[in-house]
Symmetry: C2
Subunit: 336 residues, 2 copies
Amino acid sequence: MERRPTIIDVALRAGVSKSTVSLVLQHSPAVREETRAQVRAAMADLGYVYNRTAATMRTANAGLIGLVINDLRNPFFTEFATALQMALAKRGYAAVVANTDEDSRLQAQVIGAMIEHGVSALIVSPAYGVDATAFDAIERAGIPAMQVLRKVDARTGLFPFAAPDYRAGGHLATEHLLASGARRIAFVGGLAGREVTQERMSGYLAALQSRGLKPLFLPGRASRAFGRDAALVLRRDHPEVDAVLCFNDLIALGLLSGTAEIGREVGKAFKVVGFDDIEECAQCYPALTTVRCDIASFGEGVARTVLEWLEEGVMPQPETRTPVELVIRTSSGAVA
Amino acid sequence: MERRPTIIDVALRAGVSKSTVSLVLQHSPAVREETRAQVRAAMADLGYVYNRTAATMRTANAGLIGLVINDLRNPFFTEFATALQMALAKRGYAAVVANTDEDSRLQAQVIGAMIEHGVSALIVSPAYGVDATAFDAIERAGIPAMQVLRKVDARTGLFPFAAPDYRAGGHLATEHLLASGARRIAFVGGLAGREVTQERMSGYLAALQSRGLKPLFLPGRASRAFGRDAALVLRRDHPEVDAVLCFNDLIALGLLSGTAEIGREVGKAFKVVGFDDIEECAQCYPALTTVRCDIASFGEGVARTVLEWLEEGVMPQPETRTPVELVIRTSSGAVA
DNA sequence: CTGAAAGCGCTTACAG
DNA sequence: CTGAAAGCGCTTACAG
């Protein structure tokens, strides 16, 4: 653990000045090929590693991006974060990531820590919650930041927002169920006051309304466990329901389990549709019809947008909505 | 995006020297309460944020820990990484995380990047693969590093290894199946040459051998898709098999889906046991009997170990094995 | 094409 | 209890 060699050591060994070493580090064309080779050789000999921290002090570009996620254990967010991180890595950026577990206090804390660490930008899928001041801290620090998947700060001019087109997805799914003959369609899961729930539901409501059909909303947490319970509740309290659109895939997958457990069949008389299209939807039985958000591509898109902002100063649109599509599988009656 | 205030600005405003500001930043008892309050007030007025990067340059402790994971999309690793990251955050450390997607070249690249960023320590769940030089780079940089969950570098004196006791888990699970009356038990999934597979299998093999029973190994990728396929293969080619121990839960969950799809019942005549106890095991139908690795606690333990190493110089044991336990659910015949 | 010098924002002895 | 000064490892004009 002795001191790591610095550009001075390299310069000494290569017989040049430290400025020259710095220039070859930056691939400056100002350095002769021969000199460059000498410097590279000296670096290899010494086992030199670039100290990005020191460089950051001068240039204030850390090459570090902060990624703050409300629920990293949920596969939808896992896939988003992973795709985003890998896209950043490909462009030479490292990601500091933190899970906030839907806790706005923890969120404020990790955002503060990331700012101290000098991240060049922040991407946050925010927790709902009282402590909406997290973005104020970002504003004070003057760091480019995007809110993704959920919007909690109305200042989209300052903190651009990007998300899949949830409303369209809800509409697509409901139209599909209607076209398949369903008439009593329930919307299961999601919490009433929240924007994402409202958006996903609004497409559902519009489709029903245009047919003069009555909606049925069973609010609940976005978890497998809630979906499983919902299977029982539906059979007991709402036996007339012939189709359900779930707030997300996790709920739908839980619902599938619960339905199997009580021996009810899914597909013809009782259709189930999820939302997100996490990987598991294609593997479960019955395979789950769902709204594909293509979250991996979405994550890569966000990476691109943020880096363009950072590197070329192109401020993102205040609000970006990416298209969704319906993936029809057996849970809504398609033949396998 | 104007210049952020520095300790000099704070000092000016508070009417003290910048050393004093630095001392209050570090909670030094050498500063009078009154002075401290003035400095704090000045910071608040100015919206001062601590520049950890600058501090790092002097002290060489970045408060950044690198987390390199072979498959972040796999819920087992997601849970590990998340628990670890959150434990680090609680102790004031931020985590730079990267998924390597089982690609040893990518792994070498991200490890290099993290070293440049000056991480204080590295925790890696390594990809298998040809490029075993990743740890050499860590060695040259002189950074404390642990290998977790998988061991790829034999120098555990240098890179301590920690993992759940896979062998005991395999044995526990097999004994349970034998005690439940199973006689033809297959081991499904995992790749033959790999240490984790060998360990998980060795407990299985030992239990069978002691009864004079024949093993059956169906190697395959650790994915739901493989598990699903395995359901068909088992019925077609090995109808006599009355129980299966899966390499991991993902395979077991896929197997459950596949078994349901072909209309075969799981529980009495055909028992299924997983490995890891990811969250989903308790929610699926039938609920999955599995070997609990308690990966969240494991992750927290790794955080503790690494920070002790970093902060107190306590070098971890070369090899740590954490205990596992069997969780019996309906997939192996327990009544719900 | 290369060298000398200042500076990024902190911390750390060292005086006082 | 507080101030002046050096230094962490780079980058960046500026000379030459």
